[in-house]
């Protein structure tokens, strides 16, 4: 079922987004194989772009590792939040550690939206099917982008680079019913660019803490008000 869902638009857009990464690899003078290896080992586009660009600039191994770690720290809260959605009794723990490698923005958002409607034992298979197809699409995109590099009109390739943030934004917009999520998304979108200007290294993490805690607090206050209004209504 996850496989069916992934084929089509999600895989198509990720493949198209990785076209741009493939051409970046080519432009940086790296071979196709290292490019594919980053898609295999990392599968996190912003971190991959940072790695390739920093390597090209001659940054040290320590600086590259630290930057990638900061860029990808989002996977910690993402994984913590997704795991209870995938768990079912009687499975070995290593399976979850392996599945964690497949957590990326698209697979995460779709799994967060779809798995609550599935039976417990169907959730992990759904996630694996979905993610493996998406992952596969990214290898195709990396390779195709490498081969096609320079062949696409420049205006079109700029459009394809824009597809990545645009698609992420749209899949989040698919499901905004939960108030705390909506608050967190709005606060993060406002605070993110501002804190990035203050500190490109720490801005993203600070955004998560500041905007996330703000959304959490506002949501709690609103929930308490609703609750007290409901009681007042009952007694009045």
């Amino acid at each position: 079922m996850g496989v069916r869902e992934a084929f089509g638009l999600p895989a198509l857009t990720l493949t198209a987004s990785y076209l741009a990464f493939g051409s970046l690899i080519r432009a940086s003078g790296l071979g196709l194989l290292p490019g594919l290896a980053t898609t295999f080992g990392m599968w996190a586009l912003p971190g991959q772009v940072a790695l390739v660009e920093l390597y090209g600039l001659g940054a040290s191994l320590g600086v590259i590792a630290a930057t990638v770690a900061l860029t990808n720290a989002r996977f910690l809260p993402m994984t913590v939040v997704l795991m209870p959605h995938l768990r079912a009794p009687g499975r070995p723990r290593w399976l979850y550690y392996a599945a964690a490698q497949l957590i990326a923005v698209t697979s995460w958002v779709l799994a967060m939206q779809r798995t609550p409607a599935l039976a417990e034992e169907e959730r992990l298979p759904y996630f694996l099917g979905l993610s493996l197809v998406l992952w596969g699409g990214c290898f195709v995109g990396t390779a195709a982008g490498y081969v096609l590099a320079g062949g696409l009109p420049h205006a079109l390739s700029l459009g394809l680079v824009f597809l990545n943030p645009l698609y992420f934004m749209l899949i989040f917009a698919l499901d905004l019913r939960e108030r705390s999520r909506l608050l967190a998304l709005m606060a993060g979108a406002v605070v993110g660019p501002l804190l990035h200007l203050l500190s490109p290294d720490w801005g993203l993490l600070a955004t998560g803490f500041v905007a996330g805690s703000f959304a959490f607090g506002v949501d709690r206050v609103m929930a308490r008000r609703q609750a007290s209004r409901a009681t007042a209504g009952r007694h009045g």
Partner: protein, 110 residues
């Protein structure tokens, strides 16, 4: 400086990425999903991702810097308008946004 092998860099990048995913699995087993800590973590995750997406649109790295900020904002707004006008059709919305950036870039002679 010692030669930085690209393979060593990729290995470090992969480790620096998986670290968070693996740590997430380990921690997830220790937090009760009904807990306030868990709900706070969810808020942090959504805020982080929205911050990342907004940063990629407003302050992009790489070649997207060649496009003007208003072009990217207009393209994102057009895509959202198309998304809601078509009852959340992502294909049409994404094509609208990508088409807008490509068209403005082409007209601007980038």
């Amino acid at each position: 400086m010692a030669e930085r092998s690209i393979w060593l860099v990729i290995l470090a990048g992969a480790a620096a990425t998986y670290l968070w995913r693996g740590l997430g699995v380990a921690l997830a087993g220790r937090i009760d999903p009904g807990d306030a800590v868990f709900r706070w973590t969810g808020c942090v995750a959504y805020a982080l991702l929205a911050g990342l997406i907004a940063r990629m649109i407003v302050l992009p790295l790489g070649e997207l810097q060649e496009t003007a900020l208003w072009v990217r904002l207009a393209a994102a707004a057009l895509a959202l308008a198309a998304f809601y006008a078509t009852r959340k059709n992502i294909l049409i919305a994404a094509a609208t946004g990508v088409g807008a950036v490509a068209l403005f870039a082409w007209l601007g002679g980038v």
